[in-house]
Symmetry: C2
Subunit: 240 residues, 2 copies
DNA sequence: CGCAAGTTTGACGTACATCAAGTAGTGTGG
DNA sequence: CCACACTACTTGATGTACGTCAAACTTGCG
């Protein structure tokens, strides 16, 4: 129906190293954060080339990951090639939380990515004694659940235009710059995330351009010119 | 687009009582389970009439709930009346886990229901010391996340027939009897859960009946005559 | 029994998918 | 630095699965 399986699984260039990593842990935290320290001590840095898999559906879920740079997609491919992306993971976000014995989804790098991996067993052991780590895990799971539930509403009940506006706004909410967005993913990725086809996504973007709601450069840089209008569309007021 | 807001919010008949409740806690547990005991001591029994709200979207999320009898739906209604159901909660299941300050969804009784409510504050306090409770909460969140992610794949990439087969099988997986299902929810609820209309759901069921895959009595009792065929359809092989 | 709510079935419309060219970006080797 | 090729994106024409509208039928409660 959509997405051919044109993504050859490239062997990951796993530059493992058990070295300190000078980046915020958990949420935004300053240095000397006890949680950060605890996590840092068990983290392993990994690098992945574009389209390389971090883990595959069915793999035993032994790690949780955090993105340092690049971007990750979490997806499932049906037998006939239809693909659904469950989540995009951007720098600072965690992924691989869908542990129930084994991963239910595949995680792949959208662009060359650097990732820190935390062994689940150690994480759980630390959580038993360190309340802050326990709270962090719970909060990550809650946020993930909440985001996924919103995804469900969007997929179940929104039109193509609404989905697209929703997507742009959700990326906006996760970027530093609130008007100039960098979209690391392809149109196909966006389509598979929104439950649409690549053509419908493209047409939707073109229409936003024509309506001067956005400006696109190089097809991966988007400037939001009228956030209010996009919000109206996303929430179903944009009766056109 | 779908679902009118024909569901008048009925004041809940809250028969609160801080009394022991002779039912399995956590998973299936025998009596004298420490987790069960801990939960039981902080649980309050509540009763809700059909269509009564347990909590509304935007309410402060101060409790987690467990269904004893009846069934609950977790849903969101868009401004123009479109409704998406995120989850059906059956006896033994927990709901209200979507706590992030406030509930993102409304929870309503599908049929008259009895529910136990656990104050979030106390639950968190217990979890800090009792590892078993902590694990239970984590496991509930993980299961919820996993189920919601599957919902996303279904909504994003499956056809009406596939959704329906998937739905019947998912209910099967949660019932004791693997062939004779009791569906407490209406066709409208099913439609709003699957991202379809009531008519499409009805037509799909009729087609399954014609193909002798299921037998329906009274429109709320369904017998699965050919689980293998339904599984094939749900997974996308049912090219018809 | 009788009415209202819920469900099924039919006829028709439409938003999005599919199929099919084109056009821009992106990278590579001369 | 440009020419080539390759991939990604856009645009158009057409098809279809599902939505909408409308009317019968069934169910279950008062």
């Amino acid at each position: 129906m959509t997405a051919m399986l044109q993504i050859a699984p490239i062997a990951a260039e796993k530059l493992s190293a058990r070295m300190p990593w000078p980046v915020l842990e958990g949420g935004r935290s300053e240095t000397a954060d006890p949680v950060a320290a605890a996590l840092q001590s068990i983290g392993t840095v990994l690098k992945f080339k574009r389209n390389a898999a971090v883990f595959n559906e069915g793999d035993p879920a032994r790690h949780v990951y955090k993105v340092i740079s690049g971007a990750i997609r979490t997806c499932r491919v049906l037998m006939d090639g239809r693909r659904q992306i469950a989540d995009f993971t951007l720098p600072g976000d965690f992924f691989g939380l869908d542990w129930q014995g084994e991963h239910g989804f595949t995680a792949e790098a959208i662009a060359d990515a650097v990732v820190v991996s935390y062994p689940r067993s150690q994480l759980e052991r630390i959580a038993e004694t360190q309340v802050a780590v326990q709270k962090l895990l719970m909060s990550l799971l809650c946020k993930g659940l909440s985001a996924t539930q919103n995804h469900v509403v969007m997929l179940g009940r929104q039109t193509a235009q609404e989905r697209l506006a929703w997507f742009l706004l959700s990326i906006m909410g996760r970027s530093d710059d609130d008007t100039n967005l960098e979209l690391p993913m392809s149109r196909l990725d966006i389509a598979d995330y929104l439950g649409l086809t690549i053509e419908t996504v493209s047409r939707g973007i073109s229409q936003f351009k024509r309506r001067r709601l956005i400006t696109v450069s190089g097809s991966h840089k988007v400037a939001l010119n009228n956030v209010a209008a996009l919000e109206a569309i996303a929430s179903g007021e944009g009766a056109l």
